[in-house]
């Protein structure tokens, strides 16, 4: 789960990382008053879970409260990468001497956290890192003994930081690491990390991603989830513990297992169709959960056909059939249903489906047959409309 900039900064500040003074505004008037209190010179920063905000007019510098109000009113009407902007961070400007980049991230191939730093932070850090990997300084962290000061000192030296800042840098980086560990973050990124004209470190922008598997033990962080850009369907899916992702096609997919669900989407693409969603019902799902899953897919206006691909191991196909039948009856849906069921209780399930008197149903033995049939159904729908 990704946190907003203001949430990330709030969290980092709790661990002792210096951040500029800032307040959240939901209206242009609020922005005016906040800017006024801060002497007029502020940054207005759109709080939206998208990258490259500066390039999308999502970060503006204001010199008067009136300007702050104006930029906020423009931003709140905009969206960035399709995401609406509901609030802005109004933040004091800082006199910057230098900008660095620093992050702690889970490194999958070594199975360790890695501290990454570059001497030049800012918007273009990723391009420059790809262009010249030697600029990127890394320190792998032993996850049992943690980040040691000698590692931070080495990085300070490689960054060519003034020697009188090394101890301060160590204190800062240790605070970032504590925040990373105690928040169960998979990424803590500060870009840029400023050195101010008064030789202070300050996190000018921050990004935290929290491990979804660990949210159960961080009620405070879980409560920070921004559901304002989620609709009812996505919230319903999450509450039912269904892994559901909306895509831009028209073939609805109901599958068990993440790998099989992706492979089903790939097969649809392979035969020239487009999936409407990714949906994994998980292992051993019972009829009720499958009913919810079916209803979620059928409730999407874009779905022209429902393709079910189940390989029953722990999951019993008869439970799947029962869930689908109930959902179709509840919604009185006429969306064509293409079913490919294999494995545990698949014969019983096909029998149940065939006797359920659903409007348009087709059972197939292989996924290829099922996908071709689904694409055929979609084309029929397109021709008739």
């Amino acid at each position: 789960m990704r946190l907003h900039e203001y949430q990330s900064k709030q969290r980092l500040a709790e661990f002792g990382v210096p951040v500029p003074h800032g307040e959240i505004a939901h209206t242009p008037k609020e922005a005016f008053y906040i800017a006024n209190r801060q002497g007029g010179h502020v940054f207005i920063k759109a709080q939206v879970l998208a990258g490259e905000r500066a390039r999308s007019e999502g970060i503006k510098q204001a010199h008067t409260p009136e300007e702050a109000e104006y930029y906020t009113s423009v931003m709140l009407k905009n969206n960035i990468q399709g995401l609406p902007i509901h609030k802005v961070l109004v933040e004091t400007t800082v006199n910057i001497a230098e900008e660095l980049y620093i992050a702690i991230v889970n490194d999958r191939s070594s199975g360790q956290p890695v501290l990454v730093a570059t001497a030049t932070g800012g918007m273009h850090v990723e391009e420059s890192a790809f262009a010249d990997p030697d600029q990127v300084i890394k320190a792998y962290i032993n996850p049992i003994i943690g980040l040691r000061s000698y590692q931070v000192m080495r990085i300070a030296s490689e960054l060519n930081l003034p020697r009188d800042l090394w101890r301060k840098f160590d204190t800062l980086v240790q605070a970032i690491y504590r925040c990373y560990v105690q928040s169960d973050a998979t990424l803590v990124e500060i870009n840029p990390l400023a050195i101010t004209k008064t030789q202070q470190f300050m996190a000018l922008d921050a990004k935290l991603i929290i491990d979804d598997n660990a949210l159960f033990r961080h009620a405070d962080l879980a409560a920070m989830r921004d559901t304002s850009t989620e609709d009812e369907t996505m919230i319903r899916a999450r509450n039912a513990k269904l892994s559901y992702i909306r895509l831009d096609g028209n073939i609805g997919c109901l599958v068990n297992g993440a790998g099989l669900a992706m492979a089903t989407m790939d097969a649809i693409h392979f035969y020239g169709g487009k999936p409407a969603n990714f949906l994994d019902i998980g292992g051993g799902a019972i009829a009720e959960k499958i009913q919810t899953a079916t209803e979620i897919i059928l409730s999407e206006p874009s779905v022209a056909v429902l393709l079910v691909n189940i390989f029953g191991g722990m999951t019993r196909c008869d439970e799947v059939a029962q869930g689908i039948i109930t959902a179709y009856r509840n919604l009185k849906s006429a969306v064509p249903l293409i079913v490919r069921l294999q494995g545990t209780k698949s014969n019983e399930a096909c029998e149940m489906l065939n006797q359920a008197n659903l409007l348009r149903i087709c059972t197939m033995n292989t996924l290829s047959q099922a996908v071709i049939q689904a694409i055929h159904e979609v084309q029929n729908v397109d021709f008739s409309s």
Binding site: S109, I144, A258, G259, H269, F278, F311, G313, T315, G343
Partner: protein, 288 residues
């Protein structure tokens, strides 16, 4: 021969009294797996499917000589169960549990490497050797004894492929589910190396997915060290960037870990990569 486990392997089930543990112990026993004991703290002295339950791993090993452990413990206790097994001297630990926090898995992996225990998983379906034993949750009804080694990140996709292999008379030597988490105890390369050295395996099927670089590392290993043919499929070619596709590990981040990059690396290593997974059987049959 097989890899990792065989019919004489003495299996301990941690979390045997739970709903999942109890059910799958029954399934594993039906396949004549040599389960010798179970462990649930506080439930020592009970019996499950005729097998004794102990309070801790150490006493279970003392009494039964268990040498491999399979874990069906909820995520908040699973890490403790792994440490307990490792500290008691178990050299192969198979963790079925899904949802363990990533940081703890990094610590576990680091610790186990130091003391020389191997972990399979977590969030994996386990290991099955057709005709010998099933340790985990792979449905044994679909397997057939043969010469194809199968290694997979995902469960249901693996079962579907194995079922199709069996239906076409292409039996399996060992099936290993390494799991779909970002931090894995055992990677593709580890298992490929075992298959390369296994006299009973003459062909390998690798089922990967988006996210991470395990398939890229596998491609490098295959290119330089492997003599046996490998057929592969990478799930998630059509997945959007930055979105976690179910498995915690299945996510394309910063443009890395795409299916395309993995398919290219594997193809370059001489692996035949299926465009969609039902082609795997055809590819293997053509090569015979």
């Amino acid at each position: 021969m097989s890899i990792l486990v065989h019919k004489l392997t003495r299996v301990l089930v941690q979390g045997i009294t739970g709903r999942e543990g109890r059910f799958h112990t029954g399934q594993m026993l039906e396949y004549n797996t040599n389960i010798v004991a179970g462990v649930t703290p506080g439930r020592g002295g009970e019996w499950v499917h005729g097998k004794p339950v102990f309070d801790n791993v150490e006493s279970a090993i003392e009494a039964t000589g268990a040498d491999v452990s399979v874990i069906f413990v909820p995520p908040s206790y699973a890490v403790d169960a792994i440490y307990e097994a490792a500290d008691a001297g178990i050299k192969l630990i198979i963790c079925i549990t899904e949802g363990i926090p990533v940081f703890e898995m990094m610590q576990v992996r680091y610790y186990l490497k130091q003391i020389g225990s191997r972990l399979i998983g977590s969030n994996c379906p386990g290991i099955l050797v057709p005709g010998q034993c099933s340790i985990g949750i792979i449905p044994w009804q679909i397997v057939q004894k043969g010469k194809i080694g199968v290694v997979s990140k995902s469960g249901a996709l693996c079962y579907d492929v194995v079922n199709a292999l069996s239906a076409h008379g292409l039996g399996q030597s060992t099936i290993v589910g390494i799991g779909g988490d970002p931090i894995l105890g055992t990677n593709f390369v580890d298992v490929l190396e075992m298959f390369e050295n296994d006299a009973d395996t003459d062909h390998v099927v690798l089922l990967g997915e988006i996210g991470g670089s395990e398939e890229i590392e596998a491609a490098a290993y295959i290119k330089h060290y492997m003599t046996k043919p490998v057929t592969a499929f990478i799930a998630g070619k059509s997945a959007p960037q930055g979105t976690r596709m179910g498995h915690a590990g299945a996510i394309i981040e910063g443009g890395r870990g795409t299916a395309q990059e993995k398919i290219e690396a594997l193809s370059d290593a001489g692996v035949r990569v299926a465009d969609h997974y039902e082609q795997i059987v055809d590819i293997i049959r053509e090569s015979k």
